[in-house]
Amino acid sequence: MSNLIKLNGETASIVENEWTCVNLPASQAEQRVQAGKVVLFKLTGEKSVTDEQVATTVIPATGKVIVPLSVFIARKNALVSRINAGEIGVWLDTHEVLEHLNEHQADLNALPIIAVHVERFADGRIFSLGTLLRTRYGFKNELRAFGDILKDQLFFLKRSGFTSFLIRADRSAADAITSLHDFSQPYQGAVDESQPVFKRYNRTA
């Protein structure tokens, strides 16, 4: 049974996952836990990726694959034909910076899918990343959340522009799917419904 929920307009359904997610090989190098002051808040406590990891990442030769941002940036030239064929997506971690993606891929809509990985449920950066991808970078294709994704984030993820949700393997997507509609009329404008409630309805009536 698939654990992938996909939105098509307002309709959500559980569908087969046609994308293979490529992971970085485990790093032998020591994790960098402290960074310079300027980037401290972006990187503290997070892993950085080594050149060796990037070089040794195994990308399946055929089929639709989602590659890590660092691998995409470093090995993009080798992937050009597959990008043109619509077989390559990119995933990033919540501490990674969208500018880096945009620098190396000016037209994000050449990517059929961008995925954001959230390591811990409580990490709400994913909501800002989704919002920025939709509103700042004009990304129009599938935007997927994966990792520690549970029922209780879905409503917020949907409102932040995500259109597919890979529910954590030990939980039921069928149970989670109902949460996409926990609230029928949200107050504030966001990605999915840009107008706040006071512009959608005449509340003085």
């Binding site: 449920f121 909501f127 800002s128 549970l150 409503f155 917020f156 949200p186 107050y187 504030q188 006071f198």
Partner: protein, 560 residues
């Protein structure tokens, strides 16, 4: 006050259903302890020392009689017949059952109340001045904007899981009573030179482990942009605030690390994209919400009332209450009344169910059916006629709500502390009670005059100890409860963070330590000076010397 329409009601009802399902999944073992924690916290449910604690939102401190009656009923039916009003103008229940919480929320929803975002790493209850709308020094009634912001912040999807809690305070008076500088965002409304409503925005204030007063990020923001500007600030924070160490995760740490100039640059760059986005507030919406906060139907009354004046002249006990608990009102013939939740020897901020019903009745009879909660943990009747003050006093007195100590030493701000809270290092309520009993003499209290004493049981600073003229902080020393004392803190426009006077004290020393601080003040003060003024003029040295004199001589003897 604001009345829900069907959209507001729907959101609250849907929240009850959502939380009921979350509780069910937790009790069925489908959600682990760790997974349930952020969910219950976003709903104000803590697991405490003995029982869960449920924090019920009182948006910007406004309550109706009907709501307070309901809170009284809930405290009786689901708790031990009392509740605790907190420094965030909320109500906390100390003994509800986890499995009862969905039912409590359903009860609350029937009176347009909820517990949404009263805890957790999200935008919390927005607080303001307890005299909003009636204060003579008010420039702008901040409540309509506070309500617009409440709605905007409720389930804001982008800011559902921030690095840490996020507190916003708004104020519209010359004399700040909302402690805007001690908040993640503080908004001071004013009328600009063109006569339009504008906002001075502060960012990066906060108490807690690292007390910092906010910095001004914008001197002038047009009111329409309040929401989008907050979004710019909180987006920068959400993306770049630290998430590796909860003690360094508040926005104040990010502002400090980047410097206000760099932080401002990033916020302004973000806002360049957000300015005029759909969340920009419209005239129509502000007007719609503002209608709920229009003036009460006041009677045309003379500025004086003979029977009131006579009662003050002939009854010194009533006069003492009037002096401390009755406050100026912008409308002739009206006053605001503070009902003290600080009777000597009782937990500050606690109210029994019977008291809640009594206050609700008082509000119904004498104050247009509304009341407010102050961040000093008292209840306010905002619109009482001069001619009714004596009756209000008699009834309040009968309910134990007329201690004439507002603004005095025993009007202590105090967190629940180690008696209830699992975060606390030390108890705070018994310290407050011991100090109240040490100073249980109203003449003496009046002679000491205006002073603020704030107690927190740990560095999370729920009792705002940093901004107390005297601040007391519970600390853990070799697993024993000790208390660190600071002086010189202050809330208001000239806010300051208190300075620690020296090594901490055992619980039983605390009443005499406070006594010694007061003794120095009484000896050194000039006629005009309040305690805080004397501390600011002299510095902490003479206070420190007197408080530690015995300790030092004892040490000298041992050394000799």
């Amino acid at each position: 006050m604001y009345q829900y329409d069907k959209l507001d009601q729907q959101i609250v009802d849907e929240r009850v259903a959502q939380y009921r399902d979350q509780t069910r999944r937790y009790l069925a073992g489908e959600l682990s302890e760790d997974e349930f924690r952020p969910l219950r916290l976003q709903n104000g449910l803590y697991i405490q020392r003995y029982a869960p604690m449920l924090r019920i939102a009182v948006p910007y401190g406004m309550l109706s009689s009907r709501q307070l009656h309901k809170l009284g009923d809930i405290a009786k039916n689901y708790d031990k017949d009392y509740g605790h009003f907190s420094t965030r103008q909320n109500l906390q229940l100390n003994w509800p059952k986890l499995e009862d919480v969905p039912d409590i929320l359903a009860e609350l929803a029937t009176v347009e109340m909820h517990a949404i975002q009263t805890s957790g790493n999200c935008i919390r209850n927005i607080t303001t001045d307890q005299f909003a709308g009636i204060a003579p020094d008010e420039v702008i009634d901040p409540r309509a904007m506070a309500e617009v912001m409440r709605q905007w912040s409720t389930f804001h999807p982008e800011f559902a899981l921030l690095p840490r809690k996020f507190k916003i305070a708004v104020s519209g008076t010359k004399q700040d009573r909302a402690v805007v500088q001690a908040h993640d965002i503080g908004m001071e409304f004013y009328t600009d030179t063109t006569g339009k409503l504008a906002i001075k925005v502060w960012v990066g204030g906060g108490l807690g482990r690292t007390p910092i007063l906010g910095s001004v990020i914008r001197e002038h923001l047009e009111w329409q942009h309040a929401l989008t500007y907050c979004e710019a600030i909180i987006r920068v924070y959400n993306l770049h605030g630290r998430r590796d160490n909860i003690y360094k995760a508040r926005v104040k740490i990010l502002v400090k690390a980047l410097g206000i100039e760099e932080f401002k640059k990033q916020v302004e760059a973000e806002w360049a994209h957000l300015k005029d986005a759909p969340n920009t507030i419209t005239e129509a919406e502000l007007a719609r919400v503002g209608k709920h906060f229009e003036d009460m139907p006041y009677e045309q009354l003379p500025a004086h009332n003979a029977s009131f004046d006579a009662a003050v002249a002939s009854n010194p006990v009533f006069a003492a209450w009037v002096k401390r608990c009755v406050h100026a009102h912008k409308t002739a013939g009206y006053r605001a009344v503070t009902l003290s939740l600080k009777p000597h020897g009782k937990a500050p901020g606690d109210a029994t169910s019977a008291q809640m019903h009594a206050v609700a009745d008082l509000a119904e009879t004498y104050s247009f059916g509304e009341l407010r909660v102050s961040h000093e943990q008292n209840l306010i009747l905002a619109d009482v006629k001069l001619s009714d003050l004596f009756s209000v006093w008699e009834k309040a007195r009968a309910a134990g709500l007329a201690t004439p100590n507002i603004g005095l030493l025993t009007d202590i701000i105090c967190c629940p502390g180690g008696d209830f809270c699992s975060l606390a290092n030390a108890k705070s309520i018994p310290i407050a009670e011991a100090i109240q009993m040490q100073f249980d003499n109203l003449d003496y209290l009046h002679d000491i005059g205006d002073i603020e004493l704030n107690i927190s049981g740990c560095m999370n600073a729920c009792g705002h100890h940093h901004v107390g003229h005297i601040g007391i902080l519970g600390v853990d020393k070799d697993s024993a409860e000790f208390y660190q004392v600071s002086i010189g803190g202050k809330q208001g426009n000239d806010a300051s963070i208190g300075a620690v006077i020296g090594p901490s004290f055992a619980a039983d020393e605390m009443p005499s330590v406070i006594q010694k601080l007061i003794d120095v003040y009484i000896k050194e003060r000039t006629d005009e000076e309040r305690f805080i003024d004397t501390v600011r003029r002299l510095g902490i040295a003479p206070f420190k010397a007197h408080v530690y004199a015995d300790k030092n001589s004892a040490k000298d003897e041992v050394a000799a």
